[in-house]
């Protein structure tokens, strides 16, 4: 193994361990009875929050790469996305188990009657195909373009997840608004460089060679 390969592996190991800290925190909190009067609520909500956090961190990887030129965000992007799915799964499990105790009739009613549950469940379902195809084999099988199109669904997941959070809170939507703001920045960053790309394309087709060359650099 040469040093070139070692570096990304070290980074990946670091991110992997760091990503497990929230889970460890809640496990330790339950073990030591340190989560307050309603520990199940704290764990359920905490796992939901960390799903959102990982979704937004994952969505930040590509813009970070684009605007800084750093390559490391792309090295860890897949792992971050899979951790978003991992926390989403745990979050869903706490709901199915500790909130509903696997009362499937009540769960079914919840999904159809309560918009915030509908949005949350939709987010999880849409994350499944993304998680399943987060490997080199799936990319080869689907082809890069189709794979990319499929994985653009993560934008929708981000929107649905924050919507789920917004519809859940009782009166104080200040925290959901923070998530909306970050999501808006991350999604519009993509919109911005798409527009730039289109403009470059136009310049290339026109006679402004120098401008087009400058454009390419971005």
């Amino acid at each position: 193994m040469n040093s070139r390969e070692l570096k990304p592996n070290g980074l990946k190991l670091f991110v992997f361990i760091a990503s497990l800290i929230p889970l460890g925190w809640y496990a330790w909190g339950i073990q030591t009875d340190n989560l307050g009067a309603n520990p199940i609520e704290v764990v359920t909500r905490g796992l939901g929050t960390w799903t959102l956090n990982f979704l937004l961190i994952t969505l930040a990887a590509t813009p970070l790469r684009h605007y800084t030129g750093w390559t490391w965000p792309l090295i860890i992007r897949r792992m971050l996305g899979l951790f978003a799915f991992f926390y989403a799964g745990l979050h869903l499990t706490t709901y199915l188990w500790f909130d509903q105790f696997f009362d499937w009739l009540a769960i079914g009613k919840d999904i159809f009657k309560r918009p915030f549950i509908t949005a949350g469940m939709a987010t999880f379902l849409l994350l499944i195909p993304l998680a399943v195809t987060s490997n080199a084999r799936a990319i080869r099988k689907l082809g890069g373009r189709r794979w990319q199109q499929l994985h653009r669904m993560v934008y929708l997941c981000g929107v649905l997840a924050v919507l789920h959070y917004t519809w859940m809170v009782k009166a104080d939507i200040s925290n959901p608004l923070i998530y909306w703001a970050i999501l808006a920045v991350l999604l519009s960053a993509r919109g911005l460089w798409r527009i730039q790309k289109i403009q470059c394309q136009r310049l290339k087709n026109s006679t402004h060679r120098t401008k087009a060359a400058r454009c390419e650099k971005h």
Binding site: I40, E41, K113, P115, A171
Partner: protein, 307 residues
Amino acid sequence: MHILKKPHIPPSEITPQVVYTRRRNFLQLSAGLVIAGLLPEAQAKLGPGKASVFSTAETLTSLKNVTSYNNFYEFGTAKEDPAEYAHTLRTKPWTVSIEGLVKRPRTLGMEDILKLAPLEERIYRLRCVEGWSMVIPWLGFPLASLLRQAEPLGSAKYVEFITALQPDTMPGIRRGVLDWPYTEGLRLDEAMHPLTIMAAGLYGDILPNQNGAPLRLVVPWKYGFKSGKSVVKIRFTDREPRTTWMKSSPSEYGFYSNVNPAVDHPRWSQANERRIGEFFKRKTLLFNGYADQVAQLYTGLDLRKYF
């Protein structure tokens, strides 16, 4: 009049005296020990209160949980915010004014209010609209004995409760989460019902600030938000008051807000509840288990429409 009728309590609900005195002694001792460590020595103890037939024999929620898991949005919207920030609330001096459709509008000081009626210990279930519940040993007296002081007029049909607004001590009100001051309301017969109390204490001692010091409403068959904290004004009206939560979200919070497992909150089910300290959920009971005492208040009323 039905509110004067003796409530029917099934014998199974009545705790034998030996049991409750033993429990009471233990609780007083333990609560006393805990609170003694928390409060300055000058604070006089309020309890013990007279035992009440309305008290439940269910296991009490711990003092720690009762005082650290609160909704008191004036001090922030997180459950732990009130315990952290409510210490600044000024509770002395405290007056409650009673006005509106009354013969004798008056303003009473806290000292006089406490002399109106002997303090009773009322161990009540508390069911929050969010789906959790507690069992709390309140120290209080029937609201009726306070309301009678002002001699309500025959035209009075409703009672509005206005709670404290102290912008300098309440960090939560700087944010427009709700329309302050926090306001609640009851129908007159609900307010006069013997189960409805003004609490000045819990666990045998004065109310901690986060629980609504120095005087709060407790209406055990309604969702917790109906029981306004730190009440400063009581107003008799002939029209149904618009409460803070009704203004905030009229489709989600009705005037009655009686605990009812059959009427869901639009965004979540009310069929079950998690009793704080328990793992499994319990079935929520109609009128929070006080149907025998209060169901007759709502005879003929469509509880779905008047939720």
